[in-house]
């Protein structure tokens, strides 16, 4: 069983296991998030992301394993410090915005007389003030999404769970939400950010956790992971022609790509050796870097190295 020893984390899950029917949807998952940390939670559809999140939030009880939120098993006091924007989300289309936000705030322990003020502040933060008297059903999909985000953060949570928060949003509102998440992170909020968009993870997250077939297959800092998965290839651009790249020491293959070369090293070869040889030869170098894969490439590589299909989540439930 995987274990994590760090204490005082907003959330710490260890050995989580969930079975639906004959299928182990989540297997021995351990996850921890520190205050002020944004963790990207990625994985293919049906990998077990949503089930893991639901277990962490006590919506589903795990078959095995433990979840501690703010240092203790989740209870009502802990629940009100959490903000959750699920992937399958919606609000009451027939109701106006103020009573909905008030209800959501009260469920988070906000006294009813304080709720309107917090709701107004959240609406203003997300540019929704002009819509505050409307019914939910009168809002566009994007505005409904922003409204849900406002409902999620209005009570100033310490632990924020966002499951595909940007789907359906235009670039302007995506930027608005990203900025808000960054501000919350700066305020010390721990954020678990589940998404399929690896570029968003690279931009927003300090750490990435990848799940596949219900198991954690990758867990680490974004830069660290990219470095770990860096290939043995170099990207080289020179100011002058370099017709003899293949003759450089330690080079196994060289391929002209665009304005430069993509060089594969031999087992004995090193980037330092190549660079030294180029400098010794008086080549004017404009670009020299080790090719680091994007998170998306790493994701595809890891997922592809299995069967390419995630373990389906529980048949009758949604999410991954």
């Amino acid at each position: 069983m995987a274990t994590l020893a760090t204490s005082g984390a907003p959330v710490r899950a260890s050995g989580l296991w969930k079975r639906f029917g004959a299928l182990d949807v989540v297997r021995d998952v351990a996850l921890e998030i520190a205050p002020g940390e944004v963790v990207g939670f990625v994985g293919p559809n049906g990998a077990g992301k949503s089930t893991t999140i639901r277990m962490m939030l006590d919506i589903f009880a795990p078959d095995r394993g433990t979840v501690e939120v703010f240092g203790a098993p989740i209870d009502d006091a802990a629940r009100r410090r959490i903000g959750y924007l699920p992937e399958e989300r919606g609000l009451y289309p027939g109701l106006r915005i103020p009573p909905i936000l008030k209800y959501m705030a009260e469920l988070k322990g906000i006294p009813s007389q304080e709720a309107p003020g917090l709701a107004d502040a959240a609406l203003e933060r997300l540019g929704l003030t002009e819509h505050r008297t409307k019914k939910v059903g009168e809002l566009s999909r994007g505005l409904r999404q922003l409204l849900q985000f406002a409902a999620t953060i209005q009570h100033k949570p310490d632990f924020l769970v966002l499951d595909e928060p940007f789907s359906g949003l235009d670039p302007v509102n995506v930027r608005l939400m990203k900025n808000t998440v960054a501000e919350l992170r700066d305020d010390g909020v721990a954020v678990l950010f589940s998404t399929h968009q690896m570029t968003d993870v690279e931009e927003l997250c300090d750490r990435v956790v990848m799940i596949n077939h219900g198991e954690i297959v990758l867990n680490g800092g974004v830069r660290e992971i990219r470095r770990q998965h860096a290939s043995d290839r170099l990207l080289l651009e020179c100011a002058s022609d370099m017709p003899y790249a293949l003759c450089l020491p330690g080079v196994a293959a060289a391929e002209m790509r665009g304005d430069g070369w993509r060089i594969s090293l031999t087992e004995e070869g090193s980037a330092e050796g190549v660079l030294r040889a180029l400098l010794d030869a008086g080549i004017q170098i404009e670009r020299f870097e080790r090719e680091a894969p994007t998170l998306e490439e790493i994701f595809l590589r890891i997922v592809g190295s299995s069967d390419g299909n995630g373990t389906p989540d529980e048949g009758t439930h949604t999410g991954g």
Binding site: R54, L57, D58, I59, D76, A77, R79, R80, I82, Y84, L85, P86, E88, R89, G90, L91, Y92, P93, G94, L95, P99, Y103, M104, E106, L107, K108, G109, I110, P111, Q148, A151, H155, V161, G315, T316, H317, T318
Partner: protein
């Protein structure tokens, strides 16, 4: 930020559900419909009563006036011998006035001193012929071409005079109306059935209204729980809520809030009916039993049946809402719950004719038929205290069981979208919790 207990969560959900339900236009329209209908019915009844009362008063006045102007019917007795018709000239509805001869009678008729003229010819005794003399232009009267026939009056006049001094006065009446037929039903042992003995009209009315109210609550109050659950699943609000509140607290809050809204609606309807009855009571006489406040015991029994009945049906509806994925599907499946509630209504002829028979007793203890059966049997006074208490205990236990079942299913399928679980899956979920 203040703390919040699970009870606090239930209270918040209850308040939200109640407020949301009672401010819905459909709820307001439906709630107001009954008072409006009752007001219209009472107003219509009042107008009808006033009109008919005026007619009756006019008729009474007319009758009084007409009695002051009792028709005077002239007659000429041409028979031989002693006068046959002199003893009883004052008949109900007419005064018979003797005329010395036919010409005098015609003159009196022409002068409107009399309203009709009858001539008893000399051979009356042999032939029974009586001649009514009238003017040829009397045709076209509202009473027909011949005007009032006075045949009944004439018959009474003739009979009472023919048998004058022959039979006693009372017997003379029997000659005119020989008998009035009455029927008496007896048991083979000769005893008589007195159906009204022990029947409390006020109690019957009270339990009848309570039973009807329960049927309405099955349709409406418990239906609100079903709709709210399925709508939240359809709207995808459920998971948002579940990050803030436990499933049991959420379900209980809905149960209480929507139940309160439904019961408020029911109370409004019952109050409007009650006010309507009181207003009607001011217009016409209503049996005093109906206007009498029921006893504490009866109120307690009705409240028990009502609350446990609501709890049972709302829980079953919640269970249906938990395992269905759309409002349409939920409404179709809810028939499984609603239809059995009406079985006692369909079998009412059995319950009324054999209120203590096997069918009645069995239906009393089957949870879904118990409330309505209980109200029917209580209304006709066919349930003793022990049986009532036993039936209420069974119903209460069933309601608790249904709530437990609903919570289990709700917990298991609260985030299920798109696929309904099989019965086997549901059974497994209930057992495993």
């Amino acid at each position: 930020m203040k703390g919040r207990t699970p009870v606090g969560s239930v209270r918040i959900v209850t308040r939200h559900e109640f407020r949301t339900a009672v401010t819905r236009p459909s709820y307001i329209i439906l709630t107001a419909a009954m008072p409006v209908l009752v007001a219209m019915a009472v107003a219509g009844f009042a107008v009808f009563t006033l009109v008919t009362r005026e007619d009756a008063e006019a008729e009474t006045a007319s009758s009084a006036e007409s009695s002051a102007q009792t028709p005077r019917l002239g007659y000429v007795d041409l028979t031989d011998g002693p006068a046959l018709f002199g003893a009883h000239q004052d008949q109900p509805g007419a005064l018979f006035v003797p005329m010395p001869d036919r010409d005098a009678g015609i003159a009196a008729l022409n002068d409107e001193q009399i309203d009709a003229l009858f001539v008893f010819p000399p051979d009356y005794a042999e032939t029974g012929t009586v001649v009514r003399v009238r003017f040829a232009d009397d045709a076209g009267s509202v009473f027909g071409p011949d005007g009032p026939s006075y045949s009944g009056t004439l018959r009474g006049f003739v009979l009472s005079n023919l048998f004058a001094d022959e039979v006693p006065v009372g017997l003379a009446e029997r000659l005119q109306i020989p008998y009035r037929l009455e029927i008496e039903e007896v048991r083979p042992d000769g005893g008589t059935e007195d159906e009204s003995a022990g029947f409390d009209l006020g109690r019957a009315a009270f339990f009848a209204v309570a039973g009807i109210s329960l049927l309405f609550s099955v349709f409406f109050s418990s239906g609100y729980v079903l709709n709210a659950l399925v709508e939240e699943k359809e709207n995808r609000v459920m998971e948002v809520l579940l990050s803030s509140v436990k499933p049991d607290a959420l379900l209980l809050g809905k149960f209480l809030g929507l139940g309160a809204a439904g019961l408020l609606q029911m109370a409004a309807w019952l109050a409007s009916v009650g006010v309507g009855v009181l207003v009607v009571g001011l217009i016409v006489d209503i049996p005093a039993d109906i206007l009498t406040m029921p006893g504490i015991g009866d109120i307690g029994i009705a409240a028990g049946y009502f609350l446990f009945g609501y709890a049972l049906f709302a829980s079953l509806m919640a269970a249906v809402g938990a395992v269905t994925t759309s409002l349409r599907e939920a409404n179709q499946i809810s028939a499984i719950v609603i239809v059995p509630a009406f079985i006692p209504v369909w079998l009412n002829f059995i319950l009324f004719t054999e209120p203590e028979g096997t069918v009645a007793r069995v239906l009393t203890y089957i949870p879904v038929t118990a409330p309505v059966t209980g109200f029917i049997r209580l209304a006709i006074g066919a349930m003793g205290p022990l049986e009532t208490v036993a039936a209420l205990l069974v119903l209460a236990a069933s309601a608790a069981g249904a709530l437990w079942l609903a919570m289990r299913l709700f917990r298991a399928y609260l985030l299920m979208y798109g696929k309904r679980p099989t019965l086997k899956e549901m059974a497994r979920s209930v057992v495993s919790g």
